[in-house]
Symmetry: C2
Subunit: 234 residues, 2 copies
DNA sequence: TATAATAAATGTAATAAATACGTTCATTCA
DNA sequence: TGAATGAACGTATTTATTACATTTATTATA
């Protein structure tokens, strides 16, 4: 439970719902998490997921999108519900259940100014500080979910720039699975899925030779999905 | 949103949470769903999932367990959260979000009298009638979830009696995946997982020769899980 | 009491997928 | 021009999946 606009009066005999966002990014080989300092009592000033109360007239998923846009400036972001957290005592203030949702964002695209203005900060996934309430649990669950999901759905691409190299993609999967992958087998496997479009450009930031850039072939992915294709990766 | 004890007065400017249960069973080769007739207006008398409002002092998961016990008499049942349904307009009466949870029960163990008393009824999964609100969507989502989950976790056993035969198990997986499996390969695969204990008894209901009964080896399953074993089935 | 009927149980060969592993290539910088 | 760096690539081995046909234990009945 986290409130960004603290203009609401809370009472004890009502039930509230919060939308909390686990915002993942990926940069220099590491998975990142966007956190911010809680604005409201209790626990004001503590690190927290980004969230908001769900308004009475608003869809739960909209609440999450609203707060995501508020903080990062981003719209049309990949977002999935993780699960609802409904322990009666999870928030000491009043009864509030939280629907946690995770977002995968391209870390090169977010609005840096806006993030800073909100006191938000990117943490390396294995340097996440103590968070308010059950937010650490949410992060752990979301990470597990990401791990599972990445194996069967090509969601990794949501965390990379539109154009990426195969070594970058491999780094990402290594970060997600937390183990090293063989570069020859990885390349072979990925290319065999037929969802990468090779571009004529190279990215030379990683080596002198430079690596070819690719983009994800959404169209063919959809086609293959419908034909019952298995997208197991690594 | 479904209410069993209709003794609560609902207002428009509050948010409510319901716990709705998708209760799966398995009998004579078919997946079954337990439904009942809604007790409260609006839509009184319509087929509905079994559910209840979440009480202010109660965990969401407890609410689901409470109503499950109320209807089936069963406790300690396999139950998992599916997801929260949070569309603002999902319930025409007032703002109510639902945390859907699915349960896998051994259809031979439930309390028949109790179920009848509550006007509940087992439906074949592909003969589910029109349900109130978004309950049909919940059923579809739960079924999809079951399908996915059954491939990587041995949850199928929760739907069978403690003692079962390999042909029964195969029938179950065939019902879940909705395709036929080769009996030789299925048996080989299952036995290779080392989580079945062969008993000396036979079940003769299915054939003259009779098929050996097995039970699930929870202990070894836990051991193998910890060692990072892959439980992919079929 | 022999025979027919039924589903259970079993093995092997062929194919496909995953893994392990070393060398050459393109480019930049000194 | 040559030393250094990561990118790109192929093959052999192992492992897993698939396809497929016969025998067995038992009961019911002729």
């Amino acid at each position: 439970m986290t409130e960004i606009t603290s203009d609401l009066y809370r009472v004890k005999d009502k039930l509230y719902a919060a939308a909390d966002c686990i915002i993942f990014g990926f940069e220099s080989g590491r998975i990142k998490l966007l956190l911010f300092r809680r604005r409201v009592e209790p626990l004001k000033g503590e690190w927290s997921l980004i969230g908001s109360f769900v308004r009475l007239e608003e869809d739960v998923s909209e609440a999450a999108k609203r707060v995501l846009k508020e903080i990062t400036g981003l719209e049309n972001v990949y977002m999935e519900q993780l699960k609802a957290y409904g322990k009666a005592d999870r928030d000491p203030g009043f009864r509030c259940l939280s629907i946690a949702q995770y977002a995968l964002i391209r870390i090169n695209e977010y609005d840096e100014e806006l993030v800073e203005k909100h006191g938000a900060h990117w943490f390396d996934i294995d340097e996440v500080p103590d968070l308010v309430l059950d937010h650490n649990q949410m992060v752990a669950d979301a990470l597990e979910c990401l791990k599972q999901k990445a194996r069967y759905q090509p969601i990794g691409f949501e965390l990379l720039p539109e154009k990426f190299t195969i070594p970058q993609l491999q780094q990402l999967y290594e970060a997600i699975y937390q183990r090293e992958l063989d570069s020859r087998n990885f390349r072979k496997k990925l290319l065999s899925l037929k969802v990468l479009i090779k571009l004529d450009e190279k990215d030379k930031s990683g080596s002198k030779r430079g690596a070819f850039l690719y983009k994800f072939d959404h169209e063919n992915y959809q086609k293959l999905l419908k034909s019952g294709y298995n997208f197991e990766i690594a």
